[in-house]
């Protein structure tokens, strides 16, 4: 009997450890906004993320026996997010530079390439870096391309959050040229007949997988796995299907052989971009986005509602403290309101998300988003309440007090009910404003409506159609609250309410 029991225990333990082992997972981060061929949304199936880095992550995890999970983050936030342990690794065309190596460790390189000049199709005056002097040139911010441009005297440099934005600006004649990593140049010039690649390869770019310092075991495992997939030819196969195998890689991996693997995935991408859309195709594509927009809308709504609850409650407390608390405490409320109102919400979000962890306070992106928005709007709501309190005529307080009510009773039963009605319209106003400000939380890894708009429209280059859908969703989200406000205003109106007389 006892033995049997022990066997069951051992069996259960084994199950648990098996379970734990099968759950061994690598969380990897990238920015899926506008990053073909790195990691981007499959234009033919927007729910799926594809890209050569996706394939490399899969191959590495197969090699190591891990599962993987994707975490979306803004490109400039990839390294900071690593430092606050939001994920294990970041892989997204992150160039290995000395500055970055000071903060994080890098794996051996999984891809090496060069910088490429991109110009409009009708330009015949630009071929080399020298030709760019005196011209307006775009580059991704904090990239190697940016640094190269800075080193050449006389170039008017403009930095962008995404290469596709720079290319779009060039098409609209706001830029003379763009300097960018070759893969992106290839994936844009490959189908866009308005632009072309010119000149020889410039410099060398080395992509590495970023890992937080101090995780030598993971770094070692990844480097080993990289070695394996390089040796087995898997890496080369991946790069060739994406049409990215180049002379630098041939030298680096000492593999000068010819190969007949066709660039299927590159061609699929180019075909998807150049396909002639019928109206039916177009509609079908837009409809295929809807489930994703639905999910993003839920994120937007959840964050907005929760932040508003925080704002309304905290705001009321702040207003009452500011108005009625003794001086030293009320000054704290005034300081809070003035500081929060007087500084950008974006900075507050960055502060909560990236600065607090270094003080030992670590909160999830979701919580940081709600706290950031809620605490910001609380300052505005506090002032709304205060205005409401001041707007009730003073005779009301006099009458209540002369009936023997204390000031607290008068506030609660007479003044605040009247003030509430006065503040419903401005609070509704603020909520609708908050609904849209919630787009700012995309800087702290949340994928909500606006972020998804960026991802999808940078993948399908349909800024108008997708934009209209998103705008319509925002309108629809806000509308119920406009109605609710009207109902509440009526509910709190000073007319026609009946008593139930019980005597």
């Amino acid at each position: 009997m006892k033995l049997k029991f022990q066997i069951i225990i051992i069996f259960l333990l084994a199950l648990v450890s098996l379970e734990a082992q099968s759950k061994k997972k690598i969380r990897f981060a990238a920015d899926a906004e506008g990053n073909a061929p790195y990691i981007y949304q499959n234009p033919n199936n927007p729910k799926e993320l594809i890209g050569f880095e996706m394939d490399i992550v899969k191959a590495l995890c197969d090699q190591m026996g891990y599962e993987y999970e994707f975490v979306q983050n803004q490109w400039d936030g990839l390294v900071p997010g690593l430092l606050r342990d939001d994920y294990d690794i970041a892989i997204n065309g992150i160039e290995v530079t000395k500055e970055r190596e000071r903060v994080v460790d890098f794996s051996a390189s999984y891809y090496r390439t060069f910088e490429q000049i991109l110009v409009k199709n009708d330009r015949n005056d630009i071929f080399t870096l020298e030709d760019l002097r005196g011209k307006k040139v775009g580059a991704l911010k904090s990239s190697v391309a940016e640094k190269i441009l800075q080193s050449v005297h006389g170039i008017k440099l403009l930095s962008y959050d995404a290469e596709v934005s720079a290319i779009a600006d060039m098409e609209n004649d706001r830029l003379d040229a763009v300097l960018l990593d070759h893969p992106i140049a290839l994936y844009n010039a490959g189908w866009n007949t308005k632009i072309k690649m010119v000149g020889k390869p410039i410099g060398e770019v080395v992509y590495g997988i970023a890992i937080k310092k101090g995780r030598e075991d993971l770094l070692f495992e990844i480097n080993e796995a990289l070695k394996q997939i390089t040796k087995s030819g898997k890496l080369r196969e991946i790069l060739q299907t994406w049409n990215m195998w180049n002379y630098i890689m041939a030298v680096y991996s000492q593999d000068p052989s010819e190969s007949n693997i066709s660039p299927d995935k590159y061609q699929t991408y180019i075909k998807a971009q150049t396909k002639d859309f019928t109206w039916k195709d177009y509609l079908a594509r837009q409809i295929s986005y809807l489930p994703q927009f639905g999910e993003a809308a839920i994120v937007t709504m959840e964050i907005s509602l929760l932040s508003m609850v925080v704002a309304i409650l905290l705001g009321l407390i702040l207003a009452l403290v500011r108005v009625y608390a003794p001086k030293p405490i009320s000054i704290l409320a005034i300081l809070y309101i003035e500081i929060i109102r007087g500084t950008p919400l974006l900075i507050q979000l960055f502060f909560i998300y990236y600065a607090l962890p270094s003080l030992g306070i670590k909160i999830s992106p979701y919580f940081a988003a709600v706290a950031g928005l809620g605490m910001n709007y609380a300052a505005y709501e506090a002032e709304n309440y205060r205005a409401g309190l001041f707007a009730v005529p003073k005779g009301q307080m006099e009458a209540a007090i002369s009936l023997g009510m204390t000031r607290g009773q008068a506030l609660r039963h007479i003044i605040i009910p009247q003030a509430v009605r006065l503040v419903i319209p401005p609070i509704t106003n603020d909520f609708i404003s908050l609904l849209k400000d919630s787009s700012l939380v995309s800087v702290i890894t949340m994928v909500e409506l606006t972020k998804l708009y960026g991802q999808i429209s940078n993948a399908n280059f349909d800024y108008i159609g997708t934009g209209l859908i998103v705008a319509a969703i925002y309108l629809l989200l806000g509308f119920p609250f406009v109605r609710l406000s009207q109902v509440l205003e009526k509910r709190y109106t000073f007319e026609n309410r009946k008593n139930k007389v019980i005597v």
Binding site: S330, F390, S402, Q409, P417, N499
Partner: protein
């Protein structure tokens, strides 16, 4: 219950109101310059005088909507005493970020007083009813709720008891058929009668009226005066600040004439209007008659 601490022995001849040497300043203006006043229960008193003579301030001091700077008040068994202190009027004169604006700061002035004074004020106010020139019904409550709100939350009466009493009081002022109306749906005279019922709901020993009819259309004045006369018949003590000489003449038991922060003359209306003793009274009445 707070009230128990302040009950007086019910001597028939006690002065319901006794005010000794009351002074009041607004900043540096000396508004009340030593008021002495006594009143027996059951009288209706009209206070007359020029605008700015201090009659409204005097009335508001009687239930501590203004707080006298020095003097003694004894009303319905509550004694308040202050000695030459003008501290509560010191407002925060600093400007800038931390200047504290409070809504109704100017209304509840007992905040800076000591606790004993605050409790006494609270009790005093439950025993003194006040009716305002500007009506001041609660616009978010209907007529019945306006009347029974204070009994419910101050006296903690049960809902049925408060409703019963409130309806009776509304009957008394002839407003019982309007219990479901909102204040915005009432005429001025109707609203003022509800305001009287609201004050009566706290069972006051003394009713104060601050120009109760001067915001009303002339044809509505009579219905309000009638309510006050009915209360007088029932033995309610009432003090009315008024500009209406005809009201003072016909309704009041006593007329008080005030000038420049002092009580000049107190007399029954027939004496006051036919044979005023003081030159200032004569000047004022002459001015009105011309």
């Amino acid at each position: 219950m707070l009230t128990d601490n302040f009950t007086h022995d019910s001597d028939e001849s006690f002065d319901l109101i006794k005010v000794i040497d009351m002074h009041k300043y607004f900043q540096n203006n000396h508004i009340l310059k030593g008021i002495n006043f006594e009143l027996q229960p059951g009288k209706l008193v009209a206070i007359i005088g020029r605008s700015g003579c201090g009659k409204t301030t005097f009335l508001r001091c009687l239930n501590c909507l203004e707080i006298m700077d020095s003097g003694t008040i004894n009303i319905a068994g509550v004694t308040l005493n202050r000695k030459n202190s003008r501290d509560h009027n010191v407002s925060d004169k600093r400007f800038g970020l931390f200047k504290k604006l409070k809504p109704f700061q100017e209304v509840d002035k007992t905040e800076s007083m000591d606790e004993d004074f605050q409790i006494k004020t609270q009790v005093l106010r439950t025993r003194v009813g006040m009716v305002f020139q500007s009506l001041n019904l609660f616009p978010n409550l209907n007529v019945l709720d306006n009347v029974m709100k204070a009994p419910l939350i101050v006296k903690k009466e049960s809902l049925s008891q408060a409703q019963l009493r409130s309806i009776q009081l509304l009957e008394k002022v002839g407003m019982d058929s309007f219990i479901d109306r909102m204040p915005s749906q009432l005429s001025g005279g109707q609203a003022q009668r509800v305001a009287i019922a609201r004050a009566l709901a706290m069972s006051p020993k003394l009713m104060l009226y601050d120009e109760p009819t001067s915001a009303l259309d002339p044809e509505l004045v009579e219905e309000v005066i009638q309510v006050m006369l009915n209360l007088k018949k029932e033995g309610m003590t009432q003090i009315v600040v008024t500009h209406s000489m005809s009201f003072a003449k016909t309704a009041a038991d006593l007329v008080v004439f005030m000038d420049q922060g002092q009580i000049v003359e107190i007399a029954p209306p027939n004496e006051m209007f036919s044979n005023p003793q003081d030159q200032r009274t004569r000047d004022y009445l002459k001015l009105l008659l011309d």
